[in-house]
Symmetry: C2
Subunit: 248 residues, 2 copies
DNA sequence: TTGCTCCTCACGTCACGTGAGGTGGC
DNA sequence: TTGCTCCTCACGTCACGTGAGGTGGC
């Protein structure tokens, strides 16, 4: 007959944990010796090991209590579910390993060099400081969420700035920030932007990425749209054109 | 500028978690708008994502606070340690997957058939019920701790019972239970046991396993020794003989 | 006698979850 | 006006950890 300390050492749990399992009704209270000490037999040890294995696998104690008093079939089914859960936990941990590595490699995820260069180029081209700041905000969000892809995006964007037509449109949008939402120049600008995007999609210089996640889209449009009624209107006009062209 | 709910959705944490990080000083309180709502910029989102990645990797919040205000070198070193910790966590999870599978396959780890047969055989040979119960206790402990190996051990043990010399020694030990610790027959019995073990080790029928873990040895000897002074003495005599023969 | 194990409360910890009660934006 | 988001306390949860104060075994 073993004492609580011996059992704890054998199984690899703390004495307190065993007492806790008694309190929660997971493990029946064993008989006491003359001094009031708990005395365990081998069956109690085997039961405790089952509890430990299930608990380490992430099963809540309340669930373990259910399982121990359940039938063999239910037990077996639960085991297979737990096994699946462990498999996906392992996958999650491997993902986290990647993200942790990116945290280190990405110099604490401050803005990558590529983007700093891109923002400097915008200033050279005469883009307002206000728009540069908005761009920066967007890139910080993108870099935080997609650390692995942001370098490629930035390279793509920077290449775009070599296209005179893209520069013209970009500067026009920058100017449009302060326009009224019913300014007569807005529809023409929207047309030019949609046409440019369409040519891009078909040309040899197709962008390698798009933003699909609805949370991202909502966020980015609120980010940019909310700061200027004209831009808000520009977004609406652009969407109308895209729908009309069957691109929706 | 984003509200707390937008940030939470974008990063994938709860609103409550963000407020908690503010309370713990992990994330600086952002400015408030006219209604007293918190308003976040992209840098706050990037900081929050760093916190989330570290937290999901199992780093305590207090440690994250330290890391965020630490230098680049310390940060990089911590990252590498966290990466190592994740690697070993993955290994642990894979081990747990195995143990969970054994829990299912082992019919809830009750005594395997092999051992039930072995215990029945002992009864047939005239072993006392007291010793059979002690054997059972030992096997339950062993089966709980080494579920994968216990079947092989039981097979080995059962093969031993076909050896007349082993049976003779086993029954003699069984009888010795009630002897006085200074009984004159004990030294001879100890000699015979040591000699048998030595022959075994050299013969073609070497046992495939031994018990090495000191916790196990202490436990098993207390399990068997404490119930009988004669057995206690027998263990001491056997150890003396083994040491004398240079086997210690 | 000293040191170690055991006992029973009972409060502490960690990272939030969950109402409670109230206000602001569309 | 209704429904949704936001706000601040403040207590609850989960699986134990950690003394507090006392007794038994070697």
């Amino acid at each position: 007959m073993l004492t609580i300390g011996q059992v704890a050492a054998y199984v690899g749990v703390t004495v307190r944990a065993i007492r806790h399992y008694h309190q929660r009704g997971l493990l029946p209270e064993p008989p006491r010796d003359a001094s009031g000490y708990r005395r365990y037999n081998a069956d109690a040890v085997a039961a405790l090991i089952r509890i430990k294995i299930l608990s380490e696998a992430g099963v809540p104690l309340s669930r373990i209590a259910e399982l121990l008093s359940a039938g063999l079939a239910q037990f077996a089914e639960a085991i297979s579910r737990i096994d699946h859960a462990l498999t996906s936990q392992i996958r999650e941990l491997e993902q986290r390993k990647h993200r942790i590595a990116e945290l280190g490699a990405g110099e604490r995820m401050y803005l990558p060099e590529q983007i700093v260069g891109y923002l400097d180029r915008l200033r050279e081209l005469g883009v307002s400081e206000r728009s540069v700041r908005l761009e920066r905000e967007g890139w910080v969000l993108a870099a935080a969420r997609y650390p692995g892809q942001v370098a490629a995006w930035a390279k793509d964007k920077r290449a775009s700035l070599d296209d005179p037509e893209f520069r013209r449109l970009y500067l026009a949008c920058d100017q449009a920030y302060g326009w009224a939402p019913d300014d007569p120049r807005l529809p023409g600008l929207a047309d030019a932007m949609v046409a440019f995007a369409a040519r891009r999609r078909e040309g040899p210089h197709r962008p390698e990425w798009t933003i699909d996640d609805p949370v991202d889209v909502t966020l980015l449009s609120s980010q940019f749209g909310s700061s200027s009624p004209a831009w808000q209107r520009l977004t609406e006009l652009g969407q109308e054109r895209a729908r009309a062209a069957g691109l929706g």
